[in-house]
């Protein structure tokens, strides 16, 4: 009886194996990939089962793939113990623009994808500066304009530098795996021209076990170095290993590989690197290190010719020194502090790290050093903390950092205006669900804060003091302030007012691993519990799939218009630099 049962189970299992629909093979790069002429990519076909190599037929435009790609890939019979075969060809490239139909068959199953290989015209820009406002949403721009320019009777007294640019486009940010994306995937689209998945940088998210073995695609840093020997700078006020700056150089399935990413900037021969994240440069025996090995990257970078600076004054001095060609600026072990804390509130870690430069100082220093290089430069500057404030629903801090980004963009535009040979792009990598709806007026009647929210004609205008010379109002906790709310949130206490002592921390995890409202804010006068509309696993507000607004100026910016996919931003940059010019 028992034997009969087990025999039956075996039969059932066998039927499932035979009759169960096996997914067809997956081809990387994926369908509809747009590939720059000559740019390197890893070609990979993943079969759903163990295959006999002799049964495989892989063609590109009807010919064996080796004819188009110039060499044969490696057949891996049992990849990573998954009982499935793969074919991998590293560092492939295609030199002729056109449409390429890739067909992979194992005799029974067949898959096909089509790639478009595109060329560019001649180089029109000497330099490219890409500004990323991480998570910067429309409400950030509007609020920054109100606070730093002022508004009366519906008209602003001025425009932001990021507004005042001739080209503008809406950017779609979704990825291969999901409508909503993260900063790794979205930055990777800008820097490689390929869509990928949440968490991934410079790779397609395939089935490899090692984060570093997934099919790689070449970054704009690598292209600019290899083809034009441009100088490259990466500046962020987040950790320099954080997703956005890492997107300039990294190839990993997981953005958390920050110790390895520290090395990748060197591998890609970046010339200027500035921001937070010094903890990943310290050997593990140094207190404060976040490495798991004894590598001392402070020494390794200096041996590679970098001048190391850790304060605003040292940065200015080193940048002004004509012999400085490579500069490493590390100003905080983690993410740097934002403009509101550094300039006005003096909270968070400002007292511990009092010599942090502003993003504007870092941008100026980077341009100064990079301009010394003969062949032109590519610079990425990120206002990374905008996003890190929007996540915990701390909009005031995110708006002050938007003003800071705007100041950095003004400086870059002034530089670009001198020779009209620099393309400047300003864009978020993704957005947040955040909106400006009116004002909160403490002087409105009623015991409940919601009745102090002014909507339509009752909103009027806020009473922030006039901004200082850099565009920052000196006081954020005014009696009639902007009413900015979030569309998505965990459980939290809404206080209707700025958090002056430290960044808001809306929710904390309980013993069931669910995020619940942080009771620290329960007793703030007027605070009310808002029951979350996100899963209990969400600790913070999340990214939205809303389009992002990109503005641009300079040679090559004419390509920016209408709605664009984020991978097309890569096309704008490589076209300006002529990186896909076919002789």
């Amino acid at each position: 009886m028992a034997a009969a049962v087990s025999r039956m189970l075996i039969i059932v299992a066998g039927v499932a194996l035979i009759a169960g629909p096996l997914a067809a093979q997956t081809i990387y790069p994926i369908d509809r990939a747009a590939i720059l002429v000559g740019a390197r990519f890893d070609f990979k076909v993943e079969f759903p089962a163990i295959e006999n190599q002799a049964d495989l037929k892989i063609t590109i435009n009807g010919e064996d793939y080796t004819r188009q790609l110039g060499k044969a890939g490696q057949f891996v019979e049992n990849e990573d113990g998954l009982n499935a075969s793969s074919l991998v060809l590293r560092d492939a490239s295609i030199d002729k623009p056109g449409s390429y139909k890739v067909v992979a068959s194992d005799g029974t199953r067949r898959s096909e994808v089509t790639w478009t290989v595109f060329a560019t015209g001649p180089r029109v820009a000497r330099n490219v500066i890409l500004f990323i406002g991480d998570g910067m949403s429309i409400a950030n721009r509007t609020a920054a304009r109100i606070l730093s320019k002022g508004i009366k009777e519906g008209k602003y007294f001025g425009k932001l530098a990021i507004d005042d640019m001739p080209q503008m486009a809406l950017i779609g940010t979704s990825g291969v795996d999901s409508l909503a994306t993260d900063s790794a995937n979205s930055m990777s689209a800008y820097t490689t021209g390929h869509k990928s998945s949440v968490n991934a940088l410079g790779v397609y998210a395939a089935r490899n076990k090692s984060n570093f073995e997934h099919p790689k695609v070449e970054t704009i840093t690598e292209l600019a170095k290899r083809k034009l020997d441009l100088a490259v700078g990466v500046v962020s006020d987040a950790e320099v290993q954080d997703a956005t700056p890492a997107g300039m150089v990294a190839h990993t399935r997981r953005r958390a590989d920050k110790p390895e990413i520290t090395q990748m900037f060197l591998d890609d021969r970046v010339d200027v690197l500035m921001g937070g994240g010094s903890a990943y440069f310290l050997p593990k025996s140094t207190p404060g290190s976040k490495r798991k090995d004894e590598k001392n990257y402070l020494e390794i970078y200096q041996q590679a010719g970098f001048k190391l600076v850790t304060t605003e004054d040292a940065l200015k001095a080193a940048a002004a020194e004509p012999s400085t060609m490579r500069l490493l600026g590390l100003f905080h072990p983690e993410n740097m502090d934002g403009a509101l804390d550094r300039r006005i509130l003096h909270g968070t870690t400002v007292a511990k790290y009092p010599h942090q430069p502003d993003l504007v100082d870092m941008t100026r220093g980077a341009i100064e050093v990079l301009s010394r290089h003969q062949n032109g430069f590519l610079l990425m500057v990120e206002a990374g903390i905008i996003d890190k404030y929007l996540h915990p629903l701390d909009w005031e801090r995110s708006v002050y950092d938007t003003i800071m980004l705007d100041n950095a963009v003004r400086l870059a535009k002034d530089f670009a205006a001198k020779n009209n040979d620099t393309l400047v792009l300003v864009t978020p990598d993704h957005t947040h669900g955040v909106s400006l709806i009116g004002t909160v007026d403490d002087d409105k009647p009623g015991p409940e804060m919601r009745d102090k929210v002014g909507v339509y004609e009752k909103a009027g205008y806020p009473n922030y003091p006039a901004p200082d010379a850099d565009g920052y109002p000196a006081k954020v906790d005014v009696s009639r302030r902007l009413a900015i709310f979030f569309a998505d949130f965990p459980d939290y206490y809404e206080t209707f007012r700025p958090k002056l002592d430290k960044t808001f921390n809306p929710a904390v995890q309980n013993e069931k691993k669910e995020y619940v409202a942080n009771e620290e804010y329960k007793d703030v006068p007027g605070a009310v519990l808002r029951v979350g509309n996100l899963p209990h696993s969400a600790s913070d507000g999340v990214h939205s799939a809303d389009d992002a607004v990109l503005t641009a100026i300079g040679p090559g910016s004419e390509m920016v218009h209408g709605f664009m996919d984020n991978t097309e931003v890569f096309q704008v940059m490589v076209s300006a630099l002529g990186l896909g010019r076919v002789e």
């Binding site: 953005r255 996540h391 600790s539």
Partner: protein, 147 residues
């Protein structure tokens, strides 16, 4: 008979309070751990190094566990929420304390502050099971909630 048992109870009470006193150890605050926190590393305070190997009591918050197999929990100065993507132990604040409990990890509500008592152990050390590198630890520790 009755008097003897009363004495015994009193004696037990004294023993308990003595035990509590020795177990409580010297109070150490997060702010007292490092005398300098520079960009290029932290410098341990004299108090922290002097207390190495001795029982101390520290108030803080139990952080949400990153890895279920961990035999320790992370004590932080402030309640932390962790970046959902980063998901790496390297994203902890730099002044954390790793706590190995006497009777294994029990999890508590992170909303509430806790007092942890244990033997202070400093210096870079790798937790072989999780690969977690820590600088400051409390071993053979106990904790209780404080409100």
């Amino acid at each position: 008979m009755r008097r003897r048992s009363l004495l015994a109870i009193a004696g037990f009470g004294i023993a308990l309070s003595c035990l509590r006193m020795t177990r409580a150890g010297e109070a150490l605050r997060f702010e007292e751990m490092y005398k300098a926190s520079g960009v290029l590393g932290l410098e341990m305070s004299d108090k922290l190094t002097a207390l190495n190997g001795r029982p101390v009591e520290i108030l803080g918050f139990m952080a949400p566990p990153l890895k279920p197999e961990a035999a320790f929990f992370v004590l932080t100065h402030e309640p932390v929420s962790l970046c959902p993507f980063c998901n790496s132990d390297a994203d902890w604040p730099s002044d954390i304390i790793v706590v190995y409990l006497r009777d294994g990890v029990r999890y508590t509500q992170t909303n509430r502050a806790i007092a942890v008592v244990g033997t202070l152990d400093i210096g870079s050390k790798l937790d072989t099971k999780t690969g977690f590198v820590s600088l400051v630890r409390l071993i053979e520790a106990d904790y209780h909630s404080i409100s």
